[in-house]
Amino acid sequence: MASGAGLKARLGGRKDLVAGAGLVIAGWLVILVINRWHVGPPVVFLCMAWLAVLLCGRSLWGSAQAAAGEGTGPDEAGFELSDGRVAELEKEKRALLKAIKEVEFDREMGKMSEEDAAEISRVYRARAIDIIKELEGDEGGKPTGQGAIDREIEREVRARLALAGVAERKVKAARSVAPAGASAAVASVETTADSAPGSAKDPRAGSKKAAARAAAGSKPPDDKPAEDKPGEAAADDDHDDDDDDDDEPGADAAASSEGDAESEDGAGSKSATGRTAAMQEREDA
C-alpha cells in the first residue's frame, strides 16, 4: 500500500517537471522567434544557456526552501553523525569473509599449503566469530540477533527443500514449506513492503525478516521512525528518489556493500541490515 504522502510527493514532483518543461520550451520558442527560426550554433548555445538558467533557478530555489525550513521541523534530531561501531564491525566482518574465501581460492590455486590455509583460515574465523558475537549479541553461547534467526530459518528451509527435492525453486518452495505463522507474516509484510523504506527494494528481504519475527515470536524491530518521517521522505524524494531506503540506519552499510564489486552478497547484506537495525536499537537503548 503506497503511502499518501509518497504519492503526493510523486505527483508534486511531476507537477514541477511539467512546469519546468513548459518553461524550457517557452524560453526556447522565444529564442527561436527572436532568431527568426534560424537554428544555428548561436541559437543552440543560447538554448543551452536558458536551460542552465532554469536549472540554476530551480536548484537555488530548492536550496533556499531547505534553508528556510531550517530548525522548523523535527529533522534535526534524526541527523545521525555516524553508524559508528556497527558499520565498522559489518565492514570488518565482510572483509574477513572475503579474506577466508580468498584463502580458500589461493589454496585451490596452489598458492598456499593446506596447513597454512587452515591456520590462517582459523585465525580469520575466530576473528569473524568474535565480530558476529558482538553484532548478534551473545547470550550464553547462542546467537540471538535477527540475522541468526534468519539464518536458522534458512537452514531449516534448506533442509526441508532438500527433503522435498525441489532445491532449484527455493523461494517458491519456501512459501509452501515455511511454517504457517511465517507465511502469514510474509504476506503481511509484503503488502506493506512498498511503504517501508529499506525493504521496498527487496520484498524477499522483508518476507525473510517477517518470517524470522514470526518464528521468534517477537515484535518486528522498529526501524528508527525518526529517519523516516513523512516530511523528510518528501525532502528525500526531491533529493534522490532512488535512495529513500538509505534513510534507515545501517542502510549505509548495505548500500556501500552494494557498491563493493567483489565482496557484497545480497542475502548477507540484507540480513546484515536487519542485524544492524537490531544492534542500533540496542545501542540506543
Binding site: 536549472l55 536550496s63 541527523f79 545521525e80 584463502v103 527494494k201 556501500s256 545480497g266
Partner: protein
C-alpha cells in the same frame, strides 16, 4: 556589440551576463561551503540539504557561463578580449568551440566547469548515503571552486572587454592548437585532473566527520578509475600528438608539462593498489588518505605549472608570477588543512592487521606503492630542478631526457617485475614450496625471453647505463625477460583461476573463465591492465633500436636507402595557397620500397603528390610529407610528417626543407627519416589498458542480470557512462588521423639560409657521418687495413667491411657527443644532434672541426675528443646561467652534483626506510599472528558451534 555613445567603450551584453554568472557562482560557492560545514558540524540536516542544492545551483551557473562564452566565440563578439585573442572569423566552428579552453582564462573556467559537472554527479549519487559527511564534502569542493572562481573574477576573467574600441577581427587561435589531437588531449587530461578532486573531497569529508570506516572509499571508487583512466588517456594522447605533430620522431621527451600530468598518475596508480589492501585487510588507511591528498595536490601543481610559467615548456601558457604566488598559497592551505586534519584523526586510523611476511601480496603492493611514489618524487624533482637550481645556485641546470631515462628505466623495470610477481603471491605469506610452484613457469618464460633474443638478436645485448654512467645493464634483454615473465604470470593466474572456478561450479571451462572475470572483475581486470603495461613496455623496447638519418634529394627519381628501405622522390609540389584553410602548402611525394635492390624510375614524368596508390613491385607506401605556412603566422613555417605504420615498425618521414630554382623547378629537398621499431605496441597497449579498466568498471547491474541475486545502483550511471567514454576513447585514440599542423618543438631557424620562406633547412647539415669529416679517417683506416690484412684486396666487399668497422666507432662517438650537447636556440630540451635549427647545424660544424683534430681511430683518442669538445662547449657559457644547461645531462661536479645526489638520497633513503619499516611491521605482524593463533583455537570450542554455523552460512553466500 552595442557601443556606449558617450565614452565609446564597447559594451557586450554577453560579457555582462557572463561576469554576473561568475559573481553569482562565487557567492553560491561561498554559501554552499559555509552551509555544508555548519550543517554537518551542528547536525543541521536541512542546512546540509541546502548546501547540496546550492552545489547544483553552482553547476547551473557554470553551465550558463560556459554557454555564454562559447556563444561569444560563435557570434564573433570581439568586444570580449578573450574571444578576440583566441579566435577569428575564418576559424572552423569546431575550433571556435574548443577555443574555450585554448587560452589561460578559458582553461581555468573550463577546469571549474568540469569540476561542477563531476561534483554534481558525485554528490547526487552519494548525498543520501553520507548525510553525516556530505556537507563537508560539498565544502571541500566549493573551497576548491572558490579559488578558481576568485582567479577568474579578479585576475583572469574571460569576459573582460576592451577599454577602447573592439577589433574588427580576432587574432585567431594559435595554429598549434588547431588540430584534432589538441581538441581531445587537453580535455582528457583535465578530466583526469578534476576527477581527483572527488576522492580528495570525500577523504577530507571522512576525516572531518570522523567517519573513518571504508565507506568513503566505496563511494569514490568509480571516480578513482575515472581519474586514473583519463590521466592515462590524456598522457597517451599527448604522446600520440607529439609523435604525429611535432616531427621529432618520438612520443615522450619528459617535457615539464607532460611530466605534470604524469605525477598524479603515479600516485593514483599507487592508490588503486593500496585501496585493495585496505579493503581486503583493513591496512594502509592512513597511507590511502595521504595518497588521495598528494594526488590532489599534484593535480593542482600540474594545473599551476602549465599556467604560471614556472617551468619552460612548449605547452605552457606563459609566465605569470602573480598567478604562481596564488597557486602556491592555495597549495599551502590544502597541505596544512589536509595533513592537519589527518594528524588530528591519526589515533583512530590504526590498521586492523599487520604485515606478516615480505613474501606476501600486501608487501608487494606496499613496495609497488613506494616505487610509484619514488617515481613521482623523482619526476617532480627533476622537472622542478631547473627552477630550483636557478633559485638556489643562480645556475639554471636543465635535466634532459637521458637523465630521466637513467632513473626511470630501472624503476619502470622493477614495477614491471612487481606487476608479474604480485599476483603470484598470497595474502599474508607465501611459503617456499608454494613459491616454487607459483614462480616456476613464469621464471622459465623469463629465462627463455632473455636467452632467445640474446642468442638470435645480438643487438639486444647492448648495454645501457642506469642510475650512473658507469653502471651498465642490458636493458633490452631484461625488458624482454620481464615482459615474458608478466605475460606468463597473468596467463597462469587466468588458467589456474579458471580451473578452480570450473571445479567449484562444475561448469565448462569457458563459462568458468567468464564467471571468474565477472565475479572477480577488479582483480582480473587489473591483470588485463598488467598485460597492457607489459605490451607497452614491449613498445618501449623498440627505443633501443630506433634510427634516424637525414638525406638530400635533388630531382624526381632520386633514391635513398636506409635500413632495408628505399625512398624514391616522385615530386615536390610547389607551395600553393589553399584559401579555404588559410595556409600555403608544399608537399612531397616519396615512394617507399622494401626488400628491392633496384627501384624503377618514376613513371611518365613527375607523379602528382596527391596520387597515393601503391602500384609498383616492392612499393609498400607512397608518403607525402609537407610543409605549411599559415597566413596569420607567416614567420612560423611548419612541417607535416607522414608515417608508414606496421606492427614491426614505423617509417617516419619529415621534409625538413627544400629550395627551388628561379623557374620554380626543384633545386634541393631535404628529408629526415626515423625508423621506430615496435612503436605501435605502445598504442596497442593502451587499448588493453582501456579494456582492463572497462572490466574493472562493469556495473553491478550487468552482473545482476547474469546472476539475479543482487541489486545495486550506486554509480551505475557513472560507470556505464565511463564505459561508453572508454570505448569512444579507444575508437578515437586508435583512429589514425593526421591533420597537417604546425609543430611547436620544431626550431626552424628563420635567419638560416636567408629568410623565412621554405628553405633547405639545417637539419641535414654537418651530421656525424659527414663525408668531408670522415674522409681523412677513412684514408687512414684504409692504410691500417692494408697493414693489418695485406691479403685483402682493395675495393673488395671484405676490404670495405674492414674499413667501415674502423669508421663506425667514430660515427658513434660523434653522435654521442652531439647528443650530449643542449641546443641553445631557445628550445632547452633538444640536443644539437636532433634539433633542426641553424644554430644546431653551426654547433655540429664546430663539433666536427674539433673532433677532427683528434686521433679518432683509437679508443683513447675518441674519449679524449669527446671530453675536450664537451668541456669546451661548457666553457663557452662560463659565467652565464647557461653553463650547466649546456650539457643535456649535467656533469657530476659542482652545482651539477646536486642533481645527482638528490635522487641517490631518495632511492637510498627509500630502500633503507622500506627495509626498516618492513622488518618492524613483519615482526609486529608475526607477533599479532601468534597471539591470534592462540586465540583462534577458541573458534573450534563447542560453545561457538552456533556462531560457526552462522559464519558458514554467510560464507556460502559470499562469492
Amino acid at each position: 556589440m552595442p557601443d556606449s555613445s558617450v565614452l565609446s567603450i564597447p559594451i557586450s551584453p554577453i560579457s555582462l551576463l557572463g561576469k554576473g554568472a561568475l559573481w553569482a557562482a562565487f557567492l553560491v560557492a561561498a554559501y554552499a561551503g559555509a552551509a555544508g560545514v555548519i550543517g554537518n558540524a551542528q547536525r543541521r540536516r536541512r542546512l546540509v540539504t541546502s548546501s547540496v542544492y546550492a552545489l547544483y545551483g553552482f553547476f547551473g551557473l557554470m553551465m550558463l557561463a560556459s554557454a555564454l562564452l562559447i556563444y561569444a566565440f560563435v557570434t564573433h563578439d570581439f568586444t570580449i578580449k578573450y574571444v578576440a585573442h583566441y579566435s577569428d572569423t575564418t576559424m572552423p566552428l569546431a575550433y571556435k568551440i574548443t577555443a574555450y579552453w585554448g587560452g589561460l582564462d578559458g582553461s581555468l573556467m573550463f577546469w571549474s566547469s568540469v569540476l561542477a559537472v563531476f561534483s554534481t554527479i558525485a554528490i547526487r549519487a552519494n548525498a543520501t548515503r553520507h548525510r553525516d559527511m556530505i556537507g563537508f564534502v560539498v565544502a571541500v569542493i566549493m573551497g576548491v571552486q572558490l579559488f578558481f572562481i576568485a582567479l577568474l573574477i579578479y585576475t583572469k576573467n574571460p569576459f573582460d572587454t576592451f577599454l577602447t574600441s573592439a577589433p574588427l577581427d580576432g587574432k585567431g587561435l594559435n595554429p598549434l592548437l588547431q588540430n584534432y589531437w589538441m581538441v581531445i588531449h587537453p580535455p582528457s587530461l583535465y578530466i583526469g585532473y578534476v576527477a581527483a578532486t572527488i576522492p580528495f573531497a570525500f577523504g577530507i569529508g571522512a576525516l572531518a566527520s570522523g567517519r573513518l570506516d571504508d565507506q568513503w572509499i566505496s563511494s569514490v571508487r568509480t571516480w578513482t578509475f575515472v581519474c586514473w583512466f583519463f590521466l592515462s588517456f590524456g598522457l597517451i594522447l599527448g604522446g600520440r600528438w607529439a609523435y604525429e605533430e611535432l616531427g621529432w620522431g618520438g612520443y615522450w621527451a619528459w617535457d615539464p608539462v607532460e611530466n605534470a600530468g604524469f605525477l598524479p598518475w603515479f600516485t593514483m596508480t599507487a592508490f588503486l593498489h593500496a585501496v585493495i589492501i585496505q579493503e581486503q585487510r583493513g591496512m594502509m588507511k592512513i597511507w590511502n588518505l595521504v595518497l588521495v591528498i598528494v594526488t590532489f595536490v599534484l593535480t593542482i601543481i600540474g594545473t599551476g605549472l602549465t599556467r604560471t610559467g614556472a617551468v619552460q615548456s612548449v605547452h605552457a601558457f606563459g609566465e605569470d608570477n602573480a598567478l604562481a604566488l596564488l597557486f602556491v598559497l592555495f597549495l599551502c592551505v590544502i597541505l596544512i588543512g589536509s595533513f592537519g586534519l589527518l594528524l588530528v584523526r591519526l589515533p583512530r586510523l590504526r590498521s586492523s592487521a599487520s604485515f606478516e611476511s615480505f613474501l606476501s601480496r600486501e608487501f608487494a603492493f606496499l613496495l609497488n606503492n613506494w616505487i610509484l611514489l619514488g617515481c613521482a618524487l623523482f619526476v617532480f624533482f627533476a622537472t622542478m630542478w631547473p627552477t630550483l637550481s636557478e633559485a638556489f645556485t643562480h645556475n639554471r641546470i636543465t635535466l634532459g631526457p637521458p637523465f630521466f631515462n637513467k632513473w626511470m628505466i630501472p624503476l619502470g623495470l622493477i614495477l614491471l617485475f612487481l606487476a608479474g610477481a604480485a599476483p603470484l603471491l598470497a595474502y599474508r605469506r607465501t611459503t617456499r614450496d608454494r613459491l616454487k610452484g607459483q614462480f616456476a613457469f613464469p621464471l622459465t618464460v623469463l629465462v627463455l625471453s632473455i636467452a632467445l633474443p640474446a642468442i638470435f638478436m645480438p643487438r639486444t645485448r647492448a648495454m645501457t647505463s642506469i642510475f650512473h654512467d658507469d653502471l651498465l645493464l642490458p636493458v633490452s634483454l631484461v625488458n624482454f625477460g620481464l615482459i615474458g615473465f608478466t605475460f606468463a604470470s597473468v596467463l597462469q593466474e587466468f588458467w589456474r583461476g579458471m580451473r578452480v572456478r570450473a571445479r567449484q561450479t562444475g561448469g565448462p571451462k569457458v563459462t568458468s573463465l567468464i564467471g571468474l572475470i565477472v565475479s572477480k572483475r577488479r582483480k582480473y581486470g587489473g591483470y588485463v591492465v598488467h598485460v597492457a603495461i607489459a605490451v607497452m613496455f614491449f613498445g618501449f623496447a623498440g627505443k633501443a633500436f630506433e634510427g634516424m638519418e637525414d638525406f638530400t634529394l635533388t630531382k624526381p627519381g632520386d633514391t635513398f636507402r636506409y635500413r632495408g628501405y628505399t625512398f624514391r622522390l616522385n615530386q615536390v609540389a610547389a607551395p600553393s595557397p589553399k584559401s579555404d584553410e588559410n595556409r600555403e602548402v608544399a608537399e612531397a611525394s616519396i615512394s617507399l620500397f622494401e626488400g628491392v635492390d633496384k627501384v624503377p624510375p618514376v613513371k611518365s614524368g613527375p607523379r602528382a603528390p596527391s596520387v597515393s596508390a601503391v602500384d609498383e613491385d616492392g612499393e609498400i607506401d607512397v608518403m607525402e610529407p609537407a610543409r605549411f605556412r599559415y597566413a596569420k603566422e607567416p614567420d612560423q613555417p611548419t612541417t607535416e610528417v607522414d608515417i608508414s605504420s606496421s606492427l614491426s615498425n614505423d617509417v617516419y618521414v619529415v621534409m625538413t626543407g627544400f629550395t627551388q630554382n628561379d623557374d620554380h623547378t626543384l633545386k634541393e629537398a631535404n628529408f629526415r627519416v626515423y625508423i621506430n621499431p615496435l612503436i605501435n605496441w605502445v598504442w596497442l597497449g593502451f587499448a588493453f589498458l582501456a579494456l582492463g579498466t572497462a572490466i574493472c568498471l562493469i556495473p553491478q547491474a550487468w552482473v545482476d542480470r547474469l546472476s539475479p541475486q543482487r541489486k545495486t545502483r550506486i554509480g551505475r550511471l557513472g560507470e556505464a557512462a565511463l564505459l561508453i567514454l572508454i570505448f569512444a576513447g579507444i575508437t578515437f585514440g586508435m583512429a589514425r588521423v593526421a591533420i597537417a599542423q604546425p609543430a611547436p618543438a620544431e626550431h626552424e631557424d628563420a635567419t638560416f639560409e636567408g629568410g623565412l620562406t621554405h628553405n633547405s633547412g639545417g637539419a641535414h647539415l654537418f651530421r656525424e657521418n659527414n663525408a668531408d669529416y670522415l674522409r681523412p679517417f677513412r684514408a687512414r683506416a684504409a692504410q691500417m687495413v692494408a697493414r693489418e690484412a695485406p691479403q685483402v684486396k682493395q675495393g673488395t666487399p671484405e676490404w670495405t667491411r674492414l674499413v667501415e668497422a674502423k669508421i663506425t666507432p667514430i660515427v658513434a662517438v660523434t653522435k654521442k657527443t652531439m647528443a650530449s650537447m643542449t641546443c641553445m636556440c631557445g628550445c632547452t630540451r633538444e640536443e644539437i644532434f636532433d634539433c633542426k635549427c641553424g644554430i644546431a647545424a653551426q654547433e655540429r660544424e664546430q663539433v666536427l672541426k674539433q673532433m677532427g683534430r683528434f686521433d679518432l681511430l683509437s679508443a683513447d683518442g675518441r674519449q679524449k675528443a669527446m671530453d675536450a669538445v664537451l668541456t669546451a662547449y661548457q666553457k663557452r657559457f662560463e659565467g652565464t646561467s647557461a653553463r650547466q644547461a649546456a650539457l643535456i645531462v649535467p656533469k657530476d661536479e659542482g652545482s651539477g652534483r646536486l642533481a645527482w645526489l638528490v635522487p641517490y638520497a631518495l632511492v637510498g633513503g627509500g630502500l633503507a626506510l622500506a627495509y626498516a619499516a618492513g622488518r618492524r611491521w613483519v615482526k609486529r605482524g608475526r607477533k599479532d599472528m601468534a597471539e591470534e593463533g592462540a586465540r583462534a583455537s577458541s573458534a573450534d570450542a563447542p560453545e561457538n558451534e552456533d556462531y560457526a554455523d552462522l559464519l558458514d552460512d554467510e560464507l556460502r553466500d559470499t562469492d
